[in-house]
């Protein structure tokens, strides 16, 4: 059985002539917490809608659990294995918490009462309160309860912490980070909250203008990416930097290089230049993100 839970190859979706997703390649491994990063409008929500079959891809393919997402028709069995928390966190406003649980439960034969009780307690959800009267944090908690209690193998979360206060965000992140170990759940979540992704994700993909610009294990990326600060005694000469220099920025006598790989060779190249000192610095996810998508 494939270890890849979510896979897209050359996925493309165009809205009114403008590509929202433009040849997207993704691979999400089983049991991982996958942070799907991008600026507003980068194509994160469109990708999620494509994965869930709300939209049809113009070209390319999307697979969940190795099965092609066949678009709006079908996909019932796939959806039984998926929990979804939408960006808007909207549920049926006219139902109470108890009613929506009673409504959702029969669709999923593997419903777990213990998880239901646990999340009712954690998110302090009053069973008889109407959903329209819940705070956004409570609605998020309720959506998470509905998504997790049916033993979802894959949890797709679209901006799950958007609009939540720090206390609820912390509870949510703590619960999410425990899920792969306790339930074997794979988590695919989109966000532009880099600190949260840095806190819980083990794999990330950064997309920009509908394309993957960075992808991989977070620790690998942090190890692989380094920032080189090359300080020249006099003005820097024009240099054609070796492969691996992703972004080069000059500030006075200092040249700042974000290196994605080939770091040693770049250091050697810098040191071979006359009158320079070279410093190496680790790079945060935020820096990687901003270097790739921040300036456009």
């Amino acid at each position: 059985m494939s270890n890849i839970i979510v896979e897209t190859k050359g996925l493309r979706k165009v809205f009114e002539g403008r590509p929202a997703v433009d040849g997207l390649d993704l691979r999400v491994e089983a049991g991982s917490i996958f942070g799907f990063l991008g600026r507003n409008g980068a194509g994160k929500t469109t990708t999620i809608r494509l994965l869930l079959g709300f939209l049809r891809a113009g070209s390319g393919e999307a697979r969940l659990f190795g099965e092609a997402v066949s678009g709006p028709v079908g996909g019932v069995d796939l959806r039984r294995r998926i929990g979804f928390v939408s960006e808007s966190k909207h549920l049926y406003p006219y139902m109470t918490v108890r009613q929506i649980i009673r409504f959702t439960r029969p669709f999923f034969p593997g419903w777990r009462d213990d998880l239901e009780r646990r999340y009712l307690e954690i998110f302090d959800l009053p069973p008889n309160r109407k959903i329209s009267a819940l705070s956004k944090g409570m609605r998020t908690g309720l959506m998470l309860l509905l998504a997790i209690s049916h033993r979802a193998e894959l949890l797709i979360l679209d901006e799950p912490t958007d609009g939540l206060d720090p206390a609820v965000t912390e509870i949510l992140l703590r619960e999410l980070v425990a899920l792969p170990a306790s339930e074997g759940t794979t988590i695919f979540f989109s966000s532009h909250q880099l600190t949260e992704v840095d806190q819980i994700a083990d794999h990330v993909a950064i997309i920009h203008l509908g394309r993957t610009v960075v992808s991989g294990a977070l620790d690998d990326l942090k190890g692989q990416y380094q920032r080189l600060r090359v300080v020249f005694q006099h003005g820097p000469p024009p240099v054609s930097w070796l492969e691996g220099a992703e972004h080069v920025r000059q500030e006075g006598r200092t040249v700042s290089i974000l290196a994605s790989h080939n770091v040693e060779a770049l250091v050697q190249q810098a040191r071979s230049l006359p009158g320079v000192s070279v410093e190496r610095h680790p790079v945060s996810l935020k820096e990687i993100f901003l270097e790739h998508v921040g300036n456009n």
Partner: protein, 226 residues
């Protein structure tokens, strides 16, 4: 459970339709004269039912608010679509609930009218009245499915207005182009009250039109992007 959801979404609409019917029946009952014309009772009743079912047709999976305001793309529609249920089933259950409500409201209105108005009992046999009731039930599937179709395409209240106009246009066309299956004849020349039998051609046409509209609505729900 989908039945529960659809009932919760349509119960206030159903209450509103019942409210109009009770109001009309109460006023007519209060003002009834000996020898009142049956058509003065049945025609307004038929009109109220026809417009009433337009409001009962919650459309497919798009409109999910009991107040009739569209929830739209980014709202609870996404939660519904993420459930392990086919879109065909979502639409079919929705339509079934609306049609059951339509049937209930029609039968109750007919029973109430039969019991409240002696003039109706005096001029009509129970068998003919039952035929009128059956004809009305089949007729109502047409405007219902028209509203159901347009609910999948447009937001309320425009969907109801357009559905009413389009169905009216269809009636007009049938009246002028194909008089044999003119649906309005089921309540005029071909009415069971006059012919003492069911208007089969009109009923068959009503059912066919409703089926075509329903299939079109389901097809749209199945293929559209949300």
């Amino acid at each position: 459970m989908l039945l529960m959801k659809n009932w919760l979404e349509t119960r206030w609409r159903l209450t509103a339709v019942f409210g109009y019917l009770i109001l009309f029946l109460a006023i007519t009952y209060h003002n009834q004269q000996p020898g009142m014309k049956v058509s003065n009772l049945l025609f307004p009743l038929w009109m109220i039912l026809t417009f009433g079912v337009l409001t009962l047709a919650g459309g497919g999976v798009k409109t999910q608010s009991p107040a009739g305001f569209p929830e739209g793309l980014a709202e609870s529609t996404q939660f519904t679509l993420a459930l392990p249920v086919s879109r065909l089933r979502l639409a079919a259950v929705r339509a079934a609930v609306g049609l059951m409500e339509t049937a209930a409201v029609t039968v109750i209105a007919a029973c109430a009218a039969w019991n409240l108005f002696p003039a109706l009992r005096a001029s009509t046999t129970p068998a003919d009245f039952a035929r009128v009731l059956l004809t009305t039930l089949v007729w109502l599937t047409g405007p219902y499915c028209s509203a159901f179709l347009f609910e999948t395409l447009l937001a309320e209240p425009f969907s109801m207005m357009i559905a009413g106009w389009v169905f009216g246009l269809l009636l007009w066309l049938l009246h002028h182009i194909a008089p044999a299956v003119d649906l309005t004849r089921a309540f005029t020349q071909a009415s069971p009250l006059i012919t003492h039998r069911l208007p089969w051609p009109q009923m068959a046409t009503s059912a066919s039109v409703a089926l075509i509209l329903f299939v079109a609505a389901v097809r749209i729900v199945q293929t559209r992007e949300y």
